[in-house]
Symmetry: C2
Subunit: 281 residues, 2 copies
């Protein structure tokens, strides 16, 4: 995972260091996006941009999105790598000591291209349940802000031979994977955990929800206990980097990977394949 940045721009300039006065560093006062780039096309870019704008609005960050967009174009123009990650970080910029945002903040824009080391998602994911419980907060839930200690602590609890960790909130409801969202088939209904108080609203999750809708399959958002999760006939993970990753086992318990039953996972993989293939043509 120590994939180094290929190139980075800070406020339009090639740079790799920021001030320790940057509020992104001081308080995690900012947000980010991680975008898969195939053949120099940022996959699901409009959805990423929409989520970034929503996060900036929630945190009241005044970002120059036109400039950001042109800097991304500039960075991608010079890119020679076919499959790469575009990471965009936006912070409230520099400030003094004290939590109060400066009256006239100059937001920092950071754009990085990072080598993509693909996860092998063809074999199913081996998943554990993390002991750490996610924080809950109605305002911060859903947005991909820079306060990610929950994910750091939870990820540290995944043994090396496992692929992902399931994160629960303090009420014991299943919320998401450390770096992915979760879809489950329960009683022939596709469900996904309610993200109203914890978790990140995944770009790939919402893309799938829309695409399933077109196929007349409604994805139900609801509170899901770990016990209920274990009644699921199919479970799969998704994010905008690796796409779809069916779960093969949870805590060493085999997860019904017999293919004939995996109706929803198969449909999701088809949606993913179309998306990734379309963008590499």
């Amino acid at each position: 995972m120590l994939d180094g940045p290929l190139q980075s721009l800070i406020n339009g300039q090639q740079a790799e260091r920021i001030s320790i006065r940057d509020r992104g560093f001081q308080y995690g006062d900012g947000c980010f996006e991680t975008v898969r780039v195939l053949s120099n096309k940022p996959i699901l870019w409009p959805a990423h941009l929409k989520r970034l704008k929503h996060a900036c609005k929630t945190l009241q960050l005044s970002v120059n999105f036109e400039l950001l967009q042109s800097e991304i174009t500039q960075l991608l123009q010079d890119n020679k790598t076919a499959d790469v990650i575009l990471k965009i970080t936006v912070t409230r910029g520099e400030g003094g000591r004290g939590y109060t945002p400066p009256e006239h903040a100059n937001c920092t824009r950071i754009i990085q291209l990072i080598d993509y080391i693909a996860a092998d998602t063809r074999t199913g994911a081996r998943v554990v349940v993390c002991q750490h419980r996610l924080s809950s907060n109605s305002l911060l839930a859903g947005i991909k802000h820079l306060n990610r200690l929950d994910q750091v602590v939870a990820s540290a609890q995944i043994p090396a031979d496992f692929d992902e960790g399931l994160c629960l909130d303090e009420q014991g409801s299943v919320i998401e994977g450390c770096r992915s969202n979760l879809l489950l088939a329960i009683d022939n209904q596709l469900v996904t955990p309610d993200l109203g108080k914890s978790g990140v609203e995944g770009v790939m999750l919402n893309y799938l929800i829309d695409k399933f809708q077109v196929l007349d399959t409604r994805v139900l958002r609801k509170t899901i206990s770990l016990r209920e999760l274990k009644t699921a006939s199919e479970i799969f993970l998704c994010n905008s980097v690796f796409g779809i990753w069916p779960v093969a086992e949870i805590e060493n318990e085999d997860w019904r990977m017999n293919r004939e039953k995996r109706h929803f996972s198969a449909a999701a993989l088809e949606i993913q394949n179309k998306l990734f293939r379309y963008n590499t043509r």
Copy 2:
């Protein structure tokens, strides 16, 4: 509040910039302390160090504390300012993309001396109740980690002519001020909000609790609703930078600043005065 750093050391070297790969910047993966320094003595230093060590243990950050201590000594040796803030930040150091902490992390140590612009605490504090609700999380509560978006969002809700904002959790319990802890006299009993799920365990708060104990006054930690807070005969704020700050009004409602009644605030101010005076002798 745009008080610039007088001097800063990053891993022992004079520097002001860190890598965008530093996990403190990427995820707020670290913690900090803000220490008042009077006549080159860091006030309540053993308590700050103890809290920092506890935070590092919780987050599993392997920091070289001997080195940190010697760097602090080095920075303070050259200091010519009588009243200054020492800010210590510790992060998990650099890492690639992905939440999982690197197997062999080299923690980053940042020490800053920052000009102290004293708040005038002699007149009572004008306080509002912030609309933003604090996140709750049993593991992260109490420690002064770098995930401080709650405080940023809440602080932005304090009008310019007010001094501090009260923060509640999502259950409506009063937790703390944006940058201070809270002590209240209710029915002649000194109480402070329970910090088991939200808030920061203040160094000054715990110093006061200990000192009041010596005076045979036990400070009770309990869940306090906003309604109960408003029955308090005295309310005062504390932190290790400004010390004690009696509350004069909450949301424009006068807060019984008639002096004869302010038994506990007076005792707290005396404790503070002794502490600050002792260290400036």
